[in-house]
């Protein structure tokens, strides 16, 4: 089993630690193997280093200690979604989604079909020419997701993307994200502080605690896919949420 998992690993972290210049130890001794096709959620309270860990996975920050092994060429195929939509306010939805391809030197014309397809896949066909300020919070986040998908990433990293949205919008986006994951068969690492969101989305859940950020539990969520709206009110879902909440309450 261990060997099989190692083969399918997209990215592996060994003994990762991160201290910031102000002396805060954000992460200590983190071992994590992300397997191909995982929907892995990093769950924990604020300040447990989950966002730092995500940025290390993206290659945006260097760990202070430890080793990262990723599959060849993976870093060229990573999509990242921030907590805020992080769109360029001066550019239309279309141009925002085109950005990753533009930076890769692709011409507008040849990139066109993929940009449009990415907008379609998040349900924003017809909003290509809208500026971010003309879109609702949920739609902006959809543009942000389309931008991450346009390069057809192998690994999709999401940093509390829905935390600032209202509940209706969040639920819709949760469901749509699962559909996208299913269709594209990419690997997802998702950061959240919501137990309910984590249980609803992931097939694998990594629980972290703060000071310093460490992994305290790594478990499977065995609820069957496709997970639809009804799941949220089912007893199995409630039981799973209770179990995970228990893990969070454990003394370190």
């Amino acid at each position: 089993m261990a060997a099989a998992q190692a083969n399918a690993a997209v990215i592996a972290l060994h003994g990762i630690g991160k201290s910031f210049r102000n002396g805060v130890e954000a992460l200590a001794g983190v071992d994590l193997v992300v397997a191909k096709g995982d929907f892995l959620t990093l769950l924990g309270p604020s300040g447990c280093g989950k966002s730092t860990l995500l940025r290390i996975l993206a290659g945006l920050i260097e760990p202070s200690s430890g080793r990262i092994v990723h599959r060849d060429d993976l870093l060229r195929r990573v999509g990242f979604v921030f907590q805020d939509p992080t769109l360029m306010p001066w550019a239309t939805a279309w141009s925002n989604v085109y950005l990753p391809l533009r930076l890769a030197g692709e011409a507008r014309r040849s990139a066109g079909p993929r940009v449009s397809a990415a907008l379609d896949s998040v349900g924003l066909d017809g909003f290509a020419d809208a500026y971010p300020r003309q879109l609702s919070g949920g739609m902006r986040m959809r543009v942000s997701i389309a931008r991450a998908l346009v390069t057809d990433p192998e690994l999709l990293l999401l940093d509390e993307p829905f935390a600032a949205l209202d509940e209706f919008t969040r639920f819709r986006l949760n469901e749509d994200l699962l559909t996208l994951w299913h269709e594209r068969r990419c690997t997802v690492v998702f950061v959240t502080h919501s137990v309910f969101e984590a249980v609803f989305l992931s097939n694998r859940l990594v629980v972290m605690t703060p000071r310093p950020g460490r992994i305290v539990a790594d478990c499977a969520i065995d609820l069957p896919y496709p997970r639809l709206r009804d799941l949220r009110t089912s007893p199995e879902y409630a039981a799973e949420c209770r179990r995970i909440s228990g893990l969070l309450d454990q003394p370190p």
């Binding site: 993206a58 290659g59 945006l60 990242f80 921030f82 001066w90 930076l103 500026y131 300020r133």
Partner: protein, 266 residues
């Protein structure tokens, strides 16, 4: 009438009303107190002088305006380029920024005579340099700030996609800096006019092309205060026009996305 139209009307009517009241009060005081025109000319006399001397004053204004526009263009181009350099290298910024401040706080009347002597072969150029020194700082300071104010997460995103320095500048930093830059240009527009006039004052009436400042000086020497006021009026109108044109250009450039240019209801 919709509230938006009502507000637009008030925007025009209210300042006009204030202006008319002030002018009426001024004329009333001149009449009631019997103030002679060599102490304080009334607005009617100023208006008549403006009408009478208009063509020759406008010719002088054209001279001043040429210096102003050239100085503003130089401030925009050189100021923008300096800001881009500053944003590229922290060391360069630390080393040079204090000197930009030195130029900014140096009273132009103090160094204008020097500049005029150094560049005495070219009056236009010496006046241009003086006006530029007055005008360039807001563009440099604002644009430098704007280039460094790009959204941190967007910077990370650009890094994630391996953006080159040039791509970062072209697609992220310059658009982010545009509202700051335009606000700097609007300030510089007025300063370029002030700089041009002050430089002309220092240069005196010696030049062959005579700008508006020389006309003001000349009228002052002759106690022709009505003409002086008329020239000042032209100058003020020019300042307002420059500001209005730059504001309009600014709205055209960033109106579709930047907060500063959006109306409330949108």
């Amino acid at each position: 009438m919709t509230p938006a139209r009502a507000e637009r009307l008030i925007r025009i009517v209210a300042p006009l009303l204030v202006g008319m009241l002030v002018i009426a009060g001024w004329q009333a005081i001149v009449w009631l107190e019997g103030i002679p025109p060599y102490v304080l000319p009334g607005p009617l006399l100023v208006g008549a002088t403006l009408w009478h001397d208009g063509p020759s004053l406008l010719a002088s204004l054209a001279v001043t305006l040429r210096i102003t526009v050239a100085a503003l263009a130089a401030a925009v181009i050189v100021g923008g380029a300096i800001a881009v350099l500053f944003a590229q290298s922290r060391l360069l910024e630390i080393s040079l920024f204090p000197y930009a401040v030195v130029l900014q706080v140096t009273p132009i009347v103090a160094i204008a005579p020097l500049i005029i002597i150094w560049l005495k072969d070219d009056v236009f150029l010496s006046l241009l340099v003086c006006a530029w020194i007055v005008a360039f700082f807001p563009v440099v300071a604002n644009t430098t700030l704007g280039l460094k104010s790009a959204d941190r997460n967007l910077v990370d995103l650009f890094r994630l996609y391996d953006a080159s320095r040039w791509q970062m500048l072209r697609h992220l930093q310059i658009p982010s800096a545009l509202p700051y830059f335009l606000s700097g240009v609007r300030i510089s527009g007025g300063l370029a006019l002030i700089g041009a006039v002050v430089a002309e004052f220092v240069a005196g009436t010696g030049g062959t092309d005579t700008g508006l400042a020389s006309r003001i000086l000349e009228a002052g020497y002759r106690l022709e205060f009505a003409r002086q006021f008329a020239a000042l009026l032209l100058l003020a109108g020019t300042g307002v026009a420059i500001f209005a044109i730059l504001s309009w250009a600014s709205r055209r450039l960033i109106g579709h996305w930047h907060e500063s240019a959006l109306s409330r209801e949108e």
